[in-house]
Point group: C2
Amino acid sequence: MRPAFEVFSSDGAARLGRLTLAHGVVETPAFMPVGTYGTVKAMTPEELTNLGAQIVLGNTFHLMLRPGTQVIDAHGGLHRFMHWPHPILTDSGGFQVFSLKSLRRITEEGVRFRSPIDGSEVRLTPEDSMAVQLSLRSDIAMALDDCTPYPATEQQARESMERSMRWAARSHEYYHRQEPPGGLFGIVQGGMYAHLRLASLESLSERDWPGLAIGGLAVGEPEEERLRILEALTRRLPPDRPRYLMGVGRPEEIVAAVLRGVDMFDCVMPTRHARNGHLFTSTGVINIRNSAHQTDLGPVDPGCACYTCRHYTRAYLRHLDRCNEILGSRLNTVHNLYFYLQLMRTLREAIAAGRLTSWAQGYLAGRRAAADAVA
Amino acid sequence: MRPAFEVFSSDGAARLGRLTLAHGVVETPAFMPVGTYGTVKAMTPEELTNLGAQIVLGNTFHLMLRPGTQVIDAHGGLHRFMHWPHPILTDSGGFQVFSLKSLRRITEEGVRFRSPIDGSEVRLTPEDSMAVQLSLRSDIAMALDDCTPYPATEQQARESMERSMRWAARSHEYYHRQEPPGGLFGIVQGGMYAHLRLASLESLSERDWPGLAIGGLAVGEPEEERLRILEALTRRLPPDRPRYLMGVGRPEEIVAAVLRGVDMFDCVMPTRHARNGHLFTSTGVINIRNSAHQTDLGPVDPGCACYTCRHYTRAYLRHLDRCNEILGSRLNTVHNLYFYLQLMRTLREAIAAGRLTSWAQGYLAGRRAAADAVA
C-alpha cells in the first residue's frame, strides 16, 4: 500500500501530521526506534507499543547477512518474523556499507564489500537493496544512496550526489516493477553544499515519491552546518510529503529539526545509551554507573512516569548494571525510549496548541543549562 | 511472620499444601526461580507473576558482596529493592562459599573466604548469615550449614554434619533474638549415609523449625543414592512441615522427589539453560543454536501455551541467539520458566485428583524415551 500523508495542523514551519501505512497509522512528528536485527534491542513488540512506538526501523544490511532474506521470506516478511504488526521502515543498507570503509568498493553498479560475519564478498546494487526490502515487506523502503562523507570537497559531494540520483532512479524503477507492499522514499544528498542539495531535490522531483528523506547529515558536521542545510531544504521540500531526517539524533537536535519542518526521525541513541548506562532525564543525561548513585533511593527522573521510574531506584539500576544483569539493560531501555517517545508526544501537543516556538525555546534553554551543568 | 503450612490433600507420599508467608501464599509442590543478584535473570517481577511464580530465591552470598546489605537495608529489604512483593526465600550463603574451594577456610567459628569481586577477606559465620538474611527481610531464611561434598567418607560426613548441627543451633538462636520478619528453616545433612541423615534430623528436632530442608543432595551423586536418602528421610520428616529439596533440579528429578513427599524446589537450570539456548519441551531438551532450526517455522513446543511459543518461531529464536540479542535470552527464559511452573501446576492437579502415580509413570517413561532419542 502506498503511504498517504496528511498535514492537519502547523505551527511556524513545524507540522502535525498523520502517515497512513500498510500496517497502521503513524502520528508525526514521529521517532522510530531502531530494530537492527529484527528486534529493538531488549524490548518485546508489546512493550514498544505500550511505550508509544508506532513504527520501527529495520536494517537491510544486517538482516540480509543474518538471518538472510530467505529465512525472513519464509515467515512472510519482517513483521511476522519479529512479531511486530505495526509499520516498519527499512533503510537501504547503504549507510552501513559505507561505514565499513576498508571493506568496500564502490562502482557505478553498486557496492561490493566483505561480509563482517563470514568474510565472503557481498554485492549491494540498487536492485539488490530493493529486492531485499521488497522481501522484508516493509511499509516504507528507502532508495539506495551513496552517503557523502564529511568533510567532502564540492566535487566529491557532487559526484556522490549524482551517483545517488542515478541509484535513486534505478531503485524507483525496480521497486515499482510489480505492485509493492509499501512505498519508496527518495533521499536528498549533496553534503554541506546547499546548491547541490537543491540540485538533488530537483533531480528527485522527476519521479513520484510518497516521502523524502534527508541523508548525509548527522555525519560529524557542526550544528550550524546541519541547520543551514536543513533550512535550505525544508523550504523547498514538497509540503504534502513526509520529511525524514535520517539518523538524528539527540533530543535537542530533534526539537531543532521539528521546528524547521521535519516529520520523522530514527536514532540508536536511546537504546544504545541505555545499554551503556546513560539515561536521559529532564535535567540532562546521567551515567547510572557513577558511584554517586550507589545508595540513591530516588528514581532516574522524578518527573518521569515510565515503568522503570515508577518501580525502581537509581541504586537498584546501578546494581543491575554492575552485575551485567539483562534486566538492567531492559529497564534502562524502557526509560530512554519512553523519554524519546514522550518528547514526540509533547512536540505534537505543542504544535496542535500552536505553542511550539515558546515551548521549544524553554526546552532548548533547559537542555543547554543541563549540558553546562554536566560539563 | 512465622510460616504456616497446611497439607490438605495427599496421594501416596506426595502432598498438596499451602504455605502462608509474610508476603503471600505459596501452593506446594512449588518451584522457586532463582534470583541471584536481586533479579531472576532477564525477567521483571510482573512477568514472573504472570508465569505463575509465587516465590523466588535470593542468594545471600551474592547479595552481601553486591550491592551489600547496607544498600538493600536502605530500601527496607530485598522485596522493595527488587520490586517483588511476593514471598522470598534466601539461602544461607554456605553453598556458594563451599563452591569456592581454594578461596575458603572453614573453622568452628564459620568460614572465611576471599571475595571473588575484590579479593578482600570476608567472614561468614552462622550469626553473619542470619544478620544478612534478617536485613534482607526474607519470608524464609535458611540456617548456615556445612555442605558435605560428594564423595565423602563416613567420618568426613559425620564431622561435617555435626558442624552443621552446631551452626544450625547458633543460627536458630541468633535469628530469634528479636521478632524476625519470617521463619528459619533447618537443613538436614549427613552425605549419603542414611544413619547420619537420621541423626541430623534427630539433632534438628531439638528446636522448632517451621520447615526443613534437605541439603547436600544434587552434588553429583547417582540418582539411586539420592532417592535412597530421600526415601529414608521423607518417611521420618515431620508431616506437618514443608520439605525443601535444595538445588533440585531437572524436571524428572522434581517429579521423582514429589512422589516421595517433597514440597519445595529451586534450581538455576531453567534460567541458565535458557541463556545457553537449551529449551525444555515435552519431548526433551532442544538446542536452539542447532542449524536444524535455521528455517524452522514452528514454535519451540507445539503443545506449549507460553508467550514465546504463541508468537515466535524456532528460526527467529535461533537468529536472536546467533546475534546475542537480549530478547533471545528473555524469550527463552519465559519459555523455560513456564515449562517448570506448568509442571508444578500439573503435579498439584494430579495430587488433588489422586492420580499422581499413574501420571508420573507416564511422564517419567516419556522423559526417558526423549532422553534416549536425543542421545
